[in-house]
Subunit: 142 residues, 2 copies
């Protein structure tokens, strides 16, 4: 059974039952920079936690997302990816291998007037697409 590194409720109104399954998922996610999909999370966690069910993974991901402790990325056209780093940052995705990497540089993107005037903007996310170093190299070789 995984040890608790951070409390599952980091802020008021965020209380969640502290079940071993959740702790295992949370533990896997904590500090994870790979932007895993639900399936990857399930595969990894269920290795150590035999009876883990897929529904529990989805439930937990949804709960954590709802409480703002996890960010759901829509950058991969095939599946949702999850990012435990909820601080504002951006991403690069490799068009070949779908690897996602964080972009922590502070990008100043002004919200255009046309939008700011009548919409309420709550988030700004920059997606860079292209080839990651290894796919770039592989392409060059052929």
């Amino acid at each position: 059974m995984p040890t608790l590194k951070k409390p599952l409720q980091a802020a008021p109104g965020r209380k969640m039952k502290r079940t071993p399954q959740r702790l295992a998922i949370f533990d896997y996610l904590d500090g994870n920079k790979k932007h895993p999909s639900a399936e990857e999370i399930y595969r990894s966690v269920s290795r150590t936690y035999q009876s883990m069910s897929f529904a529990t993974v989805y439930n937990t991901l949804k709960a954590l997302t709802g409480k703002g402790m996890l960010r759901e990325l829509t950058i991969d056209p095939d599946r949702k990816r999850y990012d435990p780093d909820t601080s504002p940052h951006h991403h690069f995705i490799c068009l070949q291998c779908r690897k996602i990497v964080d972009v922590h540089s502070i990008l100043t993107v002004e919200t255009p007037r046309e939008i700011a005037r009548d919409h309420l903007v709550v988030g700004t996310h920059v997606e860079f697409t292209g080839l990651c170093p290894s796919c770039k190299k592989r392409k060059k070789m052929q």
Copy 2:
């Protein structure tokens, strides 16, 4: 049978068979600013084109995307959305009703060194999220 507004092959290497189904889909898409999903496209086109099949819609969308005549948006967590405007621009999506609007303002986003150094960047897309005018108003009223 729909009329052809633009040639289906706009550039070399883009030749596609000019079938009535494709023309119908292309006609629906041409100038469309609603960022429709495959299902919306199917629903609309099959109204006038009885025998239209879902597979044809997906085939056509994939072909057009592959030839750079259509852009596949991954901004909606639930489904792919399609944008016939392939000129570089950005988007705003309403978190409530999932409406997507174009952002044609030119946003200057410098590619961060950390990425530019070893990756190959082919695209930069800014996603704004929040509430569209009507959802914003609706929220205020309650």
